[in-house]
């Protein structure tokens, strides 16, 4: 059943072409919604297969690894593909109400599907060079989405986003080429053995730093995150939401993959460095969030502090910590997409995303207040929402290795996260609107359903995970087990057991 891996990968590209062809008559958006539904179904099937058979591997055109193009899906890939599909469905549905006919005519839905395809490809590939290619696919689509609409702010944000991401791809490419020179292979499973066998361990650690720099820039880790808050709040809310949910997470996924499968020879150096970076990322992100006056920029800076929590899980490098990072990853994608969609509706109701120009939402739309509070509390880590369980796992993992300072930082940052969300709550929901308008949900008209359905759906998903965390905890532990003992993955890809 290895051909199955191509289905969730090819679907977005096929849908993209169809949506592009139908972009002028208004049918493109519904093709995109239908395609996203199919994507969710396909990734659920893929997940079921991974749970049944373990690592699913596909060798394109039957060229055996490490010579051919390999697609491989272990539990982590499966979860990420599923989350991509869910986030894609939510924002596509939201976009049907936000994106006007002009943007659709420019191919908005087609490019959005290309982005989802690129992200899915990055999660499924088993080859570092293909990872580079998928990075480029998602990058060029994200460039397109970022500038679509062409306001001055968007262009200004895009300049920073584009240039810094180009630098990171060049660093990635350079690391890739040198790693090939040092080991003679680029297949990730094959690299594991080749890196272990290399007699130049110092060089391997230097190369690991190339990848840390490249992936870390994508993941917006300290001190390489400045492109993120400069650009994420400028495009349409749909684009902000999907960027916030998925793009920096692709960087985190790549770090998780590379620093468990390939570069785990000098953990004392690489992962200690990661630990410092994680702590600084958390602090820098949350301090930035507290200083902002624009709702979407507050949320953007909070992404950075979340990245810190994810890196912390990877850096501690124990089964519990990795499981915590995976749990946090799942929760964070759902919650961040949700928060940015809420911010989009709030902007539409009040007419601005500057918090000084917003307000009065709780009085006139209390139900909408609840829709904000669910992801906000989840992000802050209130029980029984999923953020709480994720932080319990991460903090107990840090306690286990007696990293007291890290625990203190993580808890302080959580507290500051609550503070920054309280600022948003007070200024956007509690204080009356400066112009005295009372924004009601009924003002949204017939857009109400497509705008609020994804928000409510993601909220319910978050509550569901929070109330019944056992399944996801077990799954995360399974992921941690696979990542820390990658022999099964290596055997499955290289076919050494058959």
């Amino acid at each position: 059943m290895s051909w199955y891996l191509t289905l969730p990968l090819m679907t977005p590209f096929v849908v993209s072409v169809l949506a592009f062809l139908a972009r002028r008559n208004g049918a493109g958006r519904w093709i995109a919604v239908a395609g996203s539904l199919v994507g969710v179904a396909l990734s659920l099937l893929l997940m079921a297969q991974i749970l049944r058979d373990g690592v699913v591997v596909g060798q394109m055109a039957d060229w055996p690894a490490p010579y051919g193009i390999t697609l491989a899906a272990d539990l982590l890939s499966g979860i990420m593909v599923l989350l991509t599909a869910i986030a894609g469905l939510a924002v596509t549905l939201y976009a049907t109400a936000e994106i006007d006919a002009e943007l659709e005519g420019l191919g908005f839905f087609a490019v959005l599907q290309l982005l989802l395809g690129g992200v899915t490809g990055a999660f499924l590939t088993g080859d570092l060079f293909n990872l580079y290619v998928w990075f480029e696919v998602l990058l060029i689509s994200s460039f397109g989405l970022l500038v679509m609409g062409g306001t001055r702010e968007q262009i200004d944000g895009a300049v920073k986003y584009v240039t810094l991401n180009l630098v990171s791809t060049i660093v990635f490419l350079c690391g890739l080429g040198l790693l090939y020179g040092a080991t003679g292979t680029l297949n990730m499973a094959d690299l594991r053995g080749a890196v272990d066998a290399s007699d130049q361990q110092g060089l391997i650690t230097v190369l690991a730093m190339f990848f840390l720099l490249a992936f870390g820039m994508k993941a917006a880790m300290f001190p390489l995150f400045f492109w993120l808050p400069a650009s994420y709040h400028t495009p349409t809310s749909t684009v902000s939401a999907i960027f916030a949910g998925l793009l920096s997470k692709v960087g985190v996924y790549s770090l998780l993959r590379a620093f468990t499968l390939i570069f785990d020879n000098d953990v004392g150096y690489t992962h200690t460095l990661l630990l410092w970076i994680a702590a600084l990322t958390m602090i820098a992100g949350i301090l930035g969030a507290l200083a902002q006056t624009d709702m979407r920029r507050v949320l953007s800076y909070q992404i950075i502090s979340s990245i810190g929590f994810l890196l912390m899980g990877l850096a501690l490098f124990t089964p519990l910590a990795i499981a915590g990072a995976v749990f946090y990853l799942v929760h964070n994608i759902i919650v961040k997409v949700n928060l940015f969609l809420v911010a989009g509706v709030a902007e539409r109701l009040t007419g601005s995303s500057q918090m000084a120009r917003m307000g009065g939402l709780y009085k006139s739309a209390p139900l909408f207040g609840v829709l904000f509070l669910v992801p906000a509390f989840a992000l802050a880590g209130f029980p029984p929402l999923p953020g709480f369980w994720a932080k319990v796992l991460l903090v107990s993992a840090a306690l286990e290795v007696e990293a007291w300072l890290l625990v203190a930082i993580a808890l302080a940052v959580s507290l500051l996260t609550i503070w920054s969300l309280m600022i948003v709550w007070i200024r956007v929901f509690w204080t009356p609107h400066p112009d005295g308008i009372e924004p009601k949900l009924s003002d949204l008209g017939e857009d109400r359903l497509p705008l609020l359905l994804p928000i409510a759906g993601l909220g319910i998903l978050a509550i569901g995970i929070g109330l019944f965390p056992q399944g996801l905890v077990l799954l995360s532990q399974g992921v941690a087990d696979q990542l820390l003992n990658p022999q099964a993955y290596v055997d499955a890809v290289l076919g050494t057991n058959q």
């Binding site: 060079f129 580079y132 290619v133 480029e136 990058l139 060029i140 460039f143 500038v147 062409g150 306001t151 001055r152 702010e153 968007q154 262009i155 200004d156 944000g157 895009a158 300049v159 920073k160 584009v162 240039t163 180009l166 630098v167 791809t169 060049i170 490419l173 350079c174 890739l176 080429g177 040198l178 090939y180 020179g181 040092a182 808050p229 400069a230 650009s231 709040h233 400028t234 006056t293 601005s352 995303s353 500057q354 000084a356 120009r357």
Partner: protein, 124 residues
């Protein structure tokens, strides 16, 4: 041959870094193309240079190429990287043009629109 390539790559990177440190976005982009070409050469060199080798073609009646053959994989990688790099460079040039017409400047220090920190409302 490797020494020559290493010196070339070094010069390219030095020039690229000099250009990329400039405030002018266009200079930055030129630096970016230079450094991506330097990286392409680095991949080429790390795939080992074959002096006096032949293309990796399989002669009639054989199953494998015979003798010293050039490594074809780095060349394929570089070809892919060149194509992708060209596309991205074209995009960034157009973006620079749009930035100039929309913002009236290419000085990156003056591009503060998306990060305006006042509370006067949307800068746009």
């Amino acid at each position: 041959m490797e020494t020559l390539l290493a010196i070339t790559i070094g010069c390219l990177v030095a020039a690229a870094v000099y250009l990329m440190l400039a405030r002018d976005m266009l200079r930055f982009l030129f630096g970016l193309t230079l450094i991506s070409n330097a990286v392409n050469l680095a991949i080429f060199a790390s795939g080992r240079i074959t002096v006096g080798g032949v293309p990796p073609l399989v002669p009639d009646g054989e199953k494998y190429p015979v003798g010293d053959v050039a490594n074809a994989l780095p060349q394929a990688l570089i070809l892919t990287a060149i194509v992708i790099g060209f596309g991205l460079f074209a995009f960034s040039l157009v973006l620079a043009m749009r930035a100039y017409s929309a913002l009236g400047t290419l000085d990156t220090d003056a591009m503060r629109l998306s990060e305006a920190d006042d509370e006067k409302g949307d800068a746009a």
